[in-house]
């Protein structure tokens, strides 16, 4: 009798246990816990997410890795992994690291680890652009005190350290020549294994220094075609799709981020016909930036008055110059979907001014050798003017000074070089930007560059997503505060 009762009791208990287990299981999947965010990105990693190339930005945008310094909307450096910094001497800066920061593998962020990460980047081949030619050396001066020096005085070192190539990873990530960010970041999300083909799953990092992330994790997939990304969003397969093309905006909720990026016509001033300033002025007077922004970009771009956003409109008396059937080759690249449309519209305006225009549209990789050789008279170019350090002066120096490394317009004007040099010497961010604007006036007066529009990037998201970062420098996207309901 007792045996039977025990048996019954056992069975009941077992059944209850099974029931509660399964019930718990279902309850678990239905509970309003933190959700995972599904993201579609355009560019698959090209170097297995090594931060030293373009993949660095993917690491920061997904919240896997972080830099010492970040840039705010105005381009001013703000604390991130570094809490504060001071300039000890013209060539030496001292950074105080945040305490209590842990890498994903459990080790603590130390000045030695940060110094190692910077030294690896400085010794990389090729050296990341942000610190190219700067001669960065880093060493630990204490447990959390980092000392970074440069060969020449450099007022923008903190800004430079905000470049995504310079993320600080755990010492275990650096294996010989290769850098493997798996379980080595400090960000809100942990990368365990990269799978480009099937998509990559990131999990939440509970030990994140800036509070426990709101999301349980992030599922990333790489979809090269912009219209397909938009389709995946509309079909509910992803919650966020970046770089949605303007033609695919219907039925999509979006966030538009104005970028420090300008589409301009660059004129080759080294050879006829655009060695002649009158013909350059004719180009400026032929184009209609407002019509391009409204027409080709359907209002999702801003008509440009200068290379930089926020340039005051210039008062210029019209020259009324026209061309006398000069033949010009006008090139652009097809990788950015709107550029071929822009180039056709610009070419039509130039034909109306009397130019004979031959259009060339290729993939950038197929265009670049001819571009660098100066084989085109004019190029419709989309260029970011604040890529690594957000520094306008550095950008002017690179693109328009006599010794500039990317001087496609082939300008060389001593007055301009002097103005750029003045801007480069200023440390205060606002004053530096003002000096850069003054130097820009000389560039614009030359008409070597005819600004058309400032671009925006469009992030598509489902209605329940909030807290996406709208960083104009495109380093951040998913943060600890991003959530989806």
């Amino acid at each position: 009798m007792i045996e039977r009762l025990t048996m019954l009791l056992r069975r009941t208990l077992l059944a209850a246990a099974v029931l509660s287990l399964t019930a718990g299981c279902f309850a678990g999947s239905q509970a309003e816990g933190p959700a995972r965010l599904r993201v579609a990105l355009p560019f698959a990693p090209v170097q297995s997410l090594s931060p030293l190339g373009d993949d660095g930005v993917t690491l920061t945008r997904l919240g896997i890795a972080e830099t010492l310094v970040r840039l705010d909307q105005d381009g001013k450096p703000q604390p991130q992994l570094a809490e504060s910094w001071t300039r000890k001497s013209p060539t030496t800066w001292s950074f105080r690291l945040r305490s209590g920061v842990k890498f994903h593998d459990g080790t603590a962020l130390t000045a030695a680890a940060a110094a190692d990460a910077l030294s690896r980047a400085a010794a990389a081949s090729p050296v990341p652009r942000a610190i190219k030619g700067v001669g960065v050396t880093a060493k630990a001066a204490g447990d959390l005190d980092l000392e970074v020096s440069t060969t020449a005085p450099d007022p923008t070192l903190p800004q430079r350290l905000s470049a995504a190539n310079l993320v600080v990873l755990a010492p275990a990530a650096y294996q010989g020549e290769r850098v493997n960010p798996a379980k080595a970041g400090t960000g809100p999300f942990v990368l365990t294994d990269l799978n480009v083909a099937a998509g990559t799953a990131l999990s939440r990092f509970d030990g994140y220094w800036d509070g426990v992330p709101a999301l349980a994790g992030v599922d990333v997939r790489f979809v090269p075609d912009g219209n397909t990304r938009s389709a995946a969003l509309r079909a509910g397969e992803v919650d966020v799709a970046t770089t949605v093309p303007i033609s695919a905006l219907a039925n999509v909720t979006t966030e538009e981020v104005p970028l420090p990026r300008t589409v301009s016509v660059l004129l080759n001033t080294a050879k006829p016909p655009f060695a002649d300033p009158r013909l350059r002025a004719a180009v400026r007077e032929a184009v209609d930036p407002a019509a391009l922004a409204k027409g080709v970009y359907e209002g999702h771009a801003d008509a440009a008055t200068g290379v930089f956003r926020g340039t005051a409109a210039r008062q210029v008396t019209p020259t009324g110059a026209t061309a006398g059937s000069q033949k010009i080759a006008l090139a652009t690249w097809s990788d950015r979907p709107e550029l071929p449309g822009v180039v056709t519209a610009v070419a039509e305006s130039l034909r109306a001014k009397g130019f004979e225009v031959e259009q060339v549209v290729r993939k950038y990789s197929q265009l670049e050798p001819d571009l660098l050789a100066g084989n085109f008279d004019a190029v419709v170019f989309s260029r970011s003017y604040a890529m690594d350090s957000g520094d306008l002066a550095g950008n002017l120096s690179l693109d328009f000074s006599c010794s500039g490394g990317f001087n496609l317009v082939k300008l060389c004007d001593p007055a301009l070089d002097a103005a750029i040099g003045q801007a480069l010497a200023v440390e205060d961010v606002s004053a530096r930007q003002e000096a850069s604007m003054r130097a820009q006036d000389i560039v614009l007066a030359s008409d070597a560059v005819v600004p058309l529009v400032h671009e925006r990037t469009i992030i598509g998201r489902s209605a329940g997503v909030s807290g996406l970062s709208t960083d104009p420098y495109e380093r951040l996207l998913i943060t600890a505060k991003t959530r989806v309901s």
Partner: protein
Amino acid sequence: MRLLGRLCALLGLTAVIGLLPLMSGRDPALAVLRARSADREPDAEAIASVRRELGLDAGPFELLGRWFWRAVHGDLGASWVSGEPVTGQLGPAIAVSLTLTALAALVAVLVMTLLVTRPFVRGLRGSSAGRAGFAAVLAALPEFLIGSVLLLVFAVRLGWLPTSGWRDLSYAVLPAIALGTPAGAILAVVAGDALRDALAAPWRRSWTGAGFRVRTIALAVVRRAGSVVTGQLGIVVAGMFGSAATVEVVFGVPGLGRLAVDAALAQDVPVVQACVLVILLVGAAAGALGAMAQRLLLGPALTDGALESSAPREITSGRLSLLLPLVAVVAVVLWGIWRDPFTVDLAARLLPPSGAHPMGTDALGRDLLARVAHGALHTAALAAGVTALVVVIALLVGIAGRRGSGAADLVNALPTVVVALAVAATAGPGWTSAVVAVAAVAWAPPAAHARSLALEQRGSAHLTAARALGASTRHIMFRHVLPAVVPPVLRNAFVRLPAIALALASLGYLGLGAQPPEPEWGVLLAEGMPNVERAPWVVAFPAAALVLLGVGAVVAAARMR
């Protein structure tokens, strides 16, 4: 010995295609740097460090030697862009492409069967078999257009299937339909011709007279026709394996075609060479399988000269109604040629068809009717020219002997873009390079077709009889073999004419072929694709024009008998 020769040819072709860009003097270090870092200005120091890292200073011949030596030992090297071993990238891509191709082949066979069943049954009953009008329509539709429409309807609107990616078999369905439908339509044209010939063969009359059941006769006819179709099936399947890049991009499928094209654009030589090697191997295998199937289906009859094929027939009736497509194209041209195809009007973008713009306007407000009309002559003439060139090569190679047919199997599957980059590197950009690149790949399917038809003719009893009567080789060639081979091969080649027009236009972004604002039809389609959903007319009218051109070409080819 022959196998060894093949292997050497394979490795040689692979090495040359990969290394041609290097020999042209363009610096791969710049392309590699660009692939790693899109916005970086290419300073001398960065370029030099990439050159050092990749060992480029050794020169192309040293590189070639090194690659060859390692490849013989089974090591395909590491990607120049990522630094990862090539095999790690290649393995998953091959698996994806094999799955996708298998499914697409299934779709192609289904489409083919659906398209030829009715004419075949009618033919068995003795009435005249129909023509390949609908097949030509399907064959003319670009894969990327079918793909985008399927994606919008079945993935976005209905939500039945995923839009993009690759996790399980459901991800392969839409891309397989997009790839398999035009391929099946092309096969249907070939199969229709083969069935008609088999139905007209004299033995069928004797079998019917002898009281064989219809089922038995039907099976025998299918078996005879199958011998021609299997060869083409092998070729078409191999083609889908290597050249599916456009569909793979639309559906975000990480396949081999995309890998090859991306690597070729980034001048990632080790990856290009590995992809080319795999594609060539698959092409050779598919060709061999096709040939084996043909031998199996024909049996000993092939070598014993015991095949009976129909004697070449008179021109089949080409009803006037079938000339309508060409008339329609001419009418559109005459209507639109007076209009302006170039004037941009940003205030009149994407207007639907109306009185002022009978075909609507494109994304820059240009009149679509004018653009279609102005592009017609150039598109049609160029595509027809290339197709004619392809037919000549195909006949020469296919009939002249067996040697060249192996080459057909090899080059057939290569992506046109990869070949075009190699051609452009040696011959420079321009129209000639585009034509050479497209023709270099496009001659293969008709050549294989010509080979299998000629093989059958040579094994025919009536040729044995002719030879016994003392007919010269020349006589046999011109009176017996060519008349039997040329018409089907013409139709095979001309049903692919729209695809050739698209291939020519798709090379524009490499600097070969048409450049904007030229209103080439392929360019119109490519420009219109992003707007296919909100302004379907920007794609519908150029696509319709291309379909008319394709149907017209097939009809014209049929009348050339």
